[in-house]
Subunit: 273 residues, 2 copies
Amino acid sequence: MNKQPIGLLDSGVGGLTVVKEAMRQLPHEQLIFIGDQARLPYGPRPVAQVQQFTWELTQFLLQKHIKMLVFACNTATAEALQVIKPKLDIPVIGVILPGSRAAIKATKTGRIGVIGTEGTIKSGAYARTIQRKNKHIKVVSVAAPKFVPLVESNEYESTVAKKVVAETLRPFKKHQVDTLVMGCTHYPLLRPIIQNVMGDNVTLIDSGAETVSEVSTLLDYFEIANDDQNYHPKHEFYTTGSGQMFDEIANDWLELTDIHAQEVDLKKALQLT
Amino acid sequence: MNKQPIGLLDSGVGGLTVVKEAMRQLPHEQLIFIGDQARLPYGPRPVAQVQQFTWELTQFLLQKHIKMLVFACNTATAEALQVIKPKLDIPVIGVILPGSRAAIKATKTGRIGVIGTEGTIKSGAYARTIQRKNKHIKVVSVAAPKFVPLVESNEYESTVAKKVVAETLRPFKKHQVDTLVMGCTHYPLLRPIIQNVMGDNVTLIDSGAETVSEVSTLLDYFEIANDDQNYHPKHEFYTTGSGQMFDEIANDWLELTDIHAQEVDLKKALQLT
């Protein structure tokens, strides 16, 4: 039994889809989330800078005495996880391995599609991870640069969204994948449209949801889950950007009304340690 | 990169459904399986004896320099995992937590059914594990003592099987579960019949398959997966009972032709260390 919180970080609000899934699967665990809106997006930044920013978010969360750390961000996972993980005494996990594993488990034809931001697709992290585990699997990767803006502008149910999704996913027509990894934590918001375009026979993999399963596995394995059924955790949300904007998006997306993010000046917060 | 094998133990051949799933999800990993046919079934035995037998199987597998140990048996998991895990330097996992976690993830109505041997159902391990994680979930547990004999006598596709399964699962009619945990490693052989009786809207959870996902998670987490794509592992199978009988069942069930189990005298094998 361990009531310490679980820390989650993201470059923005996309990681809240992981938070939502964690609230559902792990209702007794307190969550502390920080989004680095002030310096979003991470995708086009140099690797060293992504590592530095992620390290700062990590330090901030460590001050909150977290028992586990989740990189709820594909870019941070691809570029900073392997550098930061060995430095910490607590378990640290990212979103790419859980998503890859779930896709390998789901596919029957051995043909997996991956969609992600341009940065994630260019890094080749999903294809590399999947094929390292099974080289016979064919991975078709397609960048979906227009998806995040659609979601961030709250247009993820619009007819524009339907058109953009259909156009973006067209390359998959000829490859006949039976499994599609949503390799960005923003994409689950577009899930109904993506499923409609891909067809019911294609299994959609929500990397964020799979990551929460992995969190659950490690909590149990290390015996640090909070099993107090009467504990109603009060989650904490932080942003380096505008708290008001964060709250609007977060409450709308997560169908919650009580998220009030605190604005954080990272430099100041980290000097206080 | 680590080419050491993964060890799996069971009271009998049921754990081979876990082996089959491991071969599929983790094609580069060498597996070493031991079934304790000579002392089957474990279910009705005193706890101390199950712990002793499981410890002997564990010792046998440790001689093979395994890098991880899987209790592919519900009884061993329920009664011996917590005692043996702290004694070993390698990761050890069972089947109950992965199955419980998957069920919690899958249910939408919060009503989960569990079927298992009389021993497993009597131990209450699944209901306890699920409700420790989320006390609002209703768990309906039903013992299915006739399923293992059906499978072991190779009748798992017969009309008798259909009748027995329909009768056994009748109590679920009035409880309207949307998820059913197959809490015995033998049951996936009856999956088509069980699905047919429960209806397409009920999600069946294969604890063994979920356990392999957890194996995969821990291999990655501890960085001990074998990522050599050109490695074609030669699996090893051992039984304390009749090798010939083991081979017949194993090759039939797993749709393989090349399983040749070696007969093991545990007492002799363990004195040699």
